[in-house]
Symmetry: C2
């Protein structure tokens, strides 16, 4: 049974203002909650009996409500809630761009607006071993429930920083890449195993002042490469193609300094 | 002014049953409607005065309503309607898999469920010069408004076929590719400029009977390649990475037989 006050709290967390005030965000479903549970202690959990039983060791001392699917539906921010909903603390992510980009490959998002795109980018960053993403302050909030859900648990391993991009980029001596319609064909360029890849807003691309910091202008060619394009790529799709090409060109053995998995920190630090 | 009957008709087209019965689908916004307008005559248009004025030549004889943004809101299936909403006829797409795949690179989707994923895949197929996508009957419907909108106009150039995949695949002599966790690293494989690339359902991947038709099992490696992965890729993201690699390896000059843009047919045939 979930109390009315709790349902009100959960539904309130759909809004950023309330998330910031409470320092909490909502995660739903066994996949996402399970992966977060591996790195951070929840603030509160509502779940079906079976799920709670399975995780009782990790949940010692955590306020929990046993609920039916019907009750979960009343609190859930999803159309089709699944087994479990939890509140987790928003982490204080650490580290600055210039230091991190010197050591490893990172992403910077310049005003990506759609929460689904942002969550999908966090998920694919995780696949490609990218542990830090820097977002301009006007980008979507990764703790927006749509973004959080789209990460499919990658949020447990990828740190999402919000900062003034141009300001941070100009302090960074590592290579800075961006994609532009007049950039160089990415398949013909040398790509490094560290640095920053900037991806722009869905409609406007990369802002002028951010673009001014770019040291390598790239372009993902369409096919045939010479067609007069009316086509465009979704920003998460473009990010994936770019990251895949970086990782194809600089396999681990060629000098990536990324930490081994056992040394990795989650956004919440060492558990 | 849009009549009540028209609003009812438009809202009804959110459901597949009604789209099939009427042979119509809804497209919204200047980008999507504009690109469809270039290849097919609409059945009906509701738009702001300015947009109608700009397109009056193409709209001769088409039933049109001039509307305010408030009126458009009442009919629209979007949260934020933009300038124009139109009804278009659902095309009878032509051609069979074995013939088309002999000539050019195609995609097959085995139960992709999310309309947004399907629309995004149509959009990236267009970028990579893929003109035909074959979907299993249980895949999302490309005329679902969420799918249609996510194509960003690519629907005007890409034909989406619905058919029994395994049945069609077993008649196809062109190479048939699929991605599997135990497949071969895609970056180490030869890839052809024709054939079928099968992508599977979001949760379950490629069905057994479809997988049985695959001649080349591929794998998109994570980074580092040897990590024990809990990560996964969104199906549209995986499709993009695979298509990009096919196109990188087989540039046009190496023998793609895809038609030149001026010979291309839209899903509605020659206008």
């Amino acid at each position: 049974m979930i109390s009315k006050a709790r349902i009100k709290q959960i539904r309130g967390l759909e809004r950023k203002k309330n998330r910031v005030a409470e320092g909490l965000f909502v995660a739903e479903g066994p996949k996402l909650v399970g992966e977060l549970l591996a790195v951070v202690r929840p603030h509160y959990v509502a779940a079906e009996d079976e799920w709670l039983e399975e995780h009782k060791r990790e949940l010692q001392g955590v306020p929990c409500d046993t609920v039916s699917l019907d009750e979960l539906q009343r609190a859930s921010l999803l159309q089709h809630p699944q087994q479990v909903l939890a509140l987790f603390p928003i982490p204080q992510v650490e580290g600055n761009m210039s230091e991190i980009a010197e050591r490893e490959l990172t992403l910077a998002l310049d005003g990506v607006q759609d929460p689904g795109n942002l969550g999908t980018i966090v998920r694919l960053a995780d696949w490609f071993g990218i542990s830090h993403i820097f977002c301009s302050p006007d980008s979507a909030d990764i703790y927006n429930p749509k973004a959080t859900q789209a990460t499919m648990g990658a949020l447990a391993r990828v740190s999402v920083h919000y900062c003034e991009l141009a300001q941070e980029l100009c302090k960074t001596s590592a290579p800075i890449y961006g994609t532009f319609l007049d950039g160089q064909n990415i398949y013909h360029q040398e790509l490094s195993s560290n640095g920053v890849i900037i991806m722009g807003n869905e409609g406007q691309g990369i802002r002028k002042e951010t673009a001014a910091c770019v040291s390598h202008r790239l372009f993902v060619p369409p096919f045939p490469t010479n067609r007069s394009t009316v086509e465009s790529l979704n920003v998460a799709i473009a990010t994936a193609i770019v990251c895949a090409e970086f990782r194809r060109k600089t396999p681990l053995s060629l000098g990536s300094k990324r930490r081994l998995p056992e040394q990795e920190l989650s956004p919440w630090g060492k558990k």
